[in-house]
């Protein structure tokens, strides 16, 4: 789960990581009020859960009230990579002497929280990683010891000269690691960490992602969420025991298991169709779950036909077939549905579905994909 910069900065402030004073604004008037409170040059920053805000024109320096009004008017409501900016923050402009990148992530390869520091602050770290990977210092943190102050200092001495700056940056980094662990993050990033003209080290930006698996430890996170409409559907589906991701194709998919669901989408692509979604109904043959799943597919205006691909393992195909029949009894399905049952009790499952007029059966994934694409063409 991602949170906004201002929310991440509120967490930073809680842990005494120095951030600038900021005002959260939703209207031009609020931005003007904030400008008046600072009484000097400010920066207006779009709060949107996607990278590249600066490049998209979502961050603007304003040295006059007129410019603040202009910035607020253009940024609030603007579209950045498909997301509408509803909130901005206003903070005082900083005279930057130097900027560096500091990030913590959970890393697959080292199986640790990985510390990344680079003198190339302010730009997207992925770019640096591609073009100049040697400019990123990477250090796996020992989970049993944590991050010790001298380790933090040693890293910063590689990218800074002034001992005073290093001490401040190291103090910030030790606190950032504490945030990472205590808040169950998957990413905590300060880009850039800046040194201003008064020798103060400040987190100018803040990016924090939480580990979805750890949400049970943090019931307060739900209030921080700012989901898009598609993400709201995903979260709601999740609460119903389904894993759903909406895409923009025409073939609705319902599959048991994440890997098989991906492979089913791929299969539709391979045979010239476009998948409308990823949908994993998990290991249950509960009719209610099947009904919920069908509802997501039916409510998607782009869906022209549905492919149900079930591999019976512990879940028996005849149970799934019963669930489907029950689901179809309860809802009015107006589009072609192709179903492929395989594995445990597939034969019995197919027998049950034999007389159902709504369903087109298939024996293999390839046959099912071809049939559903054909059916979608004729809708």
């Amino acid at each position: 789960m991602k949170i906004h910069e201002y929310q991440a900065k509120e967490i930073f402030a809680e842990y005494q990581i120095p951030v600038q004073t900021f005002f959260v604004c939703k209207t031009v008037d609020e931005v003007v009020n904030a400008f008046d409170k600072f009484g000097g040059p400010v920066v207006v920053k779009a709060q949107v859960l996607v990278g590249g805000r600066g490049k998209a024109g979502g961050i603007k320096f304003c040295d006059s009230k007129e410019k603040a009004i202009e910035a607020a008017t253009s940024i609030i409501g603007m579209d950045i990579k498909g997301l509408t900016v509803e909130t901005v923050i206003v903070c005082s402009a900083v005279d930057i002497a130097d900027e560096i990148y500091v990030g913590l992530i959970t890393d697959r390869n080292t199986k640790s929280v990985l510390l990344m520091v680079s003198a190339e602050g302010g730009v997207e770290i992925e770019e640096v990683a591609k073009t100049n990977p040697e400019k990123i210092i990477k250090i796996p943190i020992d989970p049993q010891i944590g991050l010790l102050p001298h380790q933090a200092r040693n890293v910063f001495f590689k990218v800074m000269k002034n001992g005073n700056h290093v001490r401040q940056a190291a103090d910030i980094l030790v606190k950032l690691y504490k945030v990472f662990i205590e808040k169950d993050c998957s990413l905590a990033e300060i880009n850039p960490l800046v040194i201003d003209k008064n020798d103060k080290v400040i987190a100018l930006d803040a990016k924090v992602n939480f580990d979805d698996n750890a949400m049970f430890r943090h019931p307060d996170y739900e209030a921080l969420a700012d989901y898009t409409d598609d993400e709201k559907l995903e979260v709601e589906a999740n609460e119903r025991g389904l894993s759903y991701v909406k895409l923009d194709g025409e073939i609705g998919c319902m599959v048991n298991g994440a890997g098989l669901a991906m492979a089913t989408m791929d299969m539709i692509n391979l045979y010239g169709g476009t998948p409308a979604n990823f949908l994993d109904i998990g290991g249950s043959s509960n009719p209610q779950k099947v009904i919920h799943a069908m509802e997501y597919l039916m409510n998607d205006k782009n869906v022209k036909a549905v492919l149900i691909n079930i591999f019976g393992g512990i879940t028996r195909c005849d149970d799934v077939a019963r669930g489907l029949l029950e689901a179809f009894k309860q809802m009015d399905v107006k589009m072609p549905v192709v179903i492929r049952l395989s594995g445990t009790n597939a034969k019995e499952g197919k027998e049950l579905l034999k007389n159902s007029k709504e369903l087109i059966t298939a024996d293999t994934m390839a046959e099912a994909a071809k049939k559903v694409i054909e059916a979608a063409k004729n809708v």
């Binding site: 989970p143 791929d266 990823f278 591999f311 445990t344």
Partner: protein, 294 residues
């Protein structure tokens, strides 16, 4: 022969009195796995279908000589359960539990190293050596004894592949679901090396998916170290970036971890990549040549 589990496996089930733990314990026992003990704190002295239950893994090991553990404990407590098994001297721990916080897995990793224990999973279906032993939740009826090893990040997609192999007369030595989380225990490289060393495995199927660069690392490893033929499949070619596809680890981030990159890496390493699951048995048969035993 097989890798990791065989007739000498003595299994302890952590979380044996839970719904899933109890159900799959019986399935494993039915398959012939030597399930020697269960653990459920506070329930020592009871039994599940004749299998004695202990308060701690330590007690279970002392009383039964258990050498492998399978963990069905709910996610909030699962990492702790894995650490307990390692401390009690268990050398192979299979973590079935789904949804364990990543930080918890990171925290117990040094404990596994300290005690020389290997973990499979978490968030995995476990493993099976057909005809010998099952330590997992895989549906036994689709497997067949044979000489193909299989490693997969997925559950039902693994079953799909195995079913394709079995119905085409290709048996398996050991099949392992390594788990769909970003941070997991044993990965492709360790398992490829074990299959390479196993005299009864003649070909290996590797089923990967989007996210991370483990497949790329596996490809490089295969090129240098594996003499047996490897056939691969990558799921998620049509997945959009930035969206988690069910598995916590199946996520393309900032353009890396895509299926295309992985397929390219495998092909560059001389690994045949199947376009769809149905192509797997065809490629495997070709790779096995006269080692194909129907």
């Amino acid at each position: 022969m097989s890798i990791l589990i065989n007739k000498d496996t003595k299994l302890v089930v952590q979380g044996i009195t839970g719904r899933d733990g109890g159900f799959h314990t019986l399935k494993m026992k039915e398959y012939g796995t030597n399930v020697v003990a269960g653990v459920s704190p506070g329930k020592e002295g009871t039994n599940v279908d004749g299998i004695p239950v202990f308060n701690t893994v330590e007690n279970a090991v002392k009383a039964t000589g258990a050498n492998t553990s399978i963990v069905f404990v709910p996610a909030p407590f699962a990492a702790d359960a894995v650490a307990e098994a390692a401390e009690a001297g268990i050398k192979l721990i299979i973590a079935i539990s789904e949804g364990i916080p990543t930080v918890d897995v990171i925290r117990i990793t040094p404990i596994l190293e300290k005690y020389g224990a290997k973990m499979i999973g978490p968030n995995c279906p476990g493993l099976i050596s057909p005809g010998k032993s099952l330590a997992g939740i895989l549906p036994t009826n689709i497997f067949k004894e044979g000489n193909v090893g299989l490693i997969s990040r997925s559950g039902t997609l693994t079953y799909e592949m195995v079913n394709q192999l079995t119905t085409n007369g290709i048996g398996q030595s050991t099949c392992i679901g390594i788990g769909g989380d970003p941070i997991i225990g044993l990965h492709y490289i360790e398992l490829l090396a074990m299959f390479e060393a196993d005299i009864h495995t003649d070909a290996i199927v590797l089923c990967g998916e989007i996210g991370g660069d483990a497949e790329e690392q596996a490809a490089a490893f295969i090129k240098e170290n594996i003499t047996k033929p490897v056939v691969a499949f990558i799921a998620g070619q049509s997945a959009p970036p930035g969206k988690r596809m069910g598995h916590a680890g199946a996520l393309i981030t900032s353009g890396s971890g895509t299926a295309i990159e992985k397929i390219k890496a495998f092909e560059a390493a001389g690994v045949k990549v199947a376009k769809e699951p149905a192509e797997i048995p065809i490629l495997v048969k070709k790779a096995l040549g006269d080692k194909w035993q129907a």
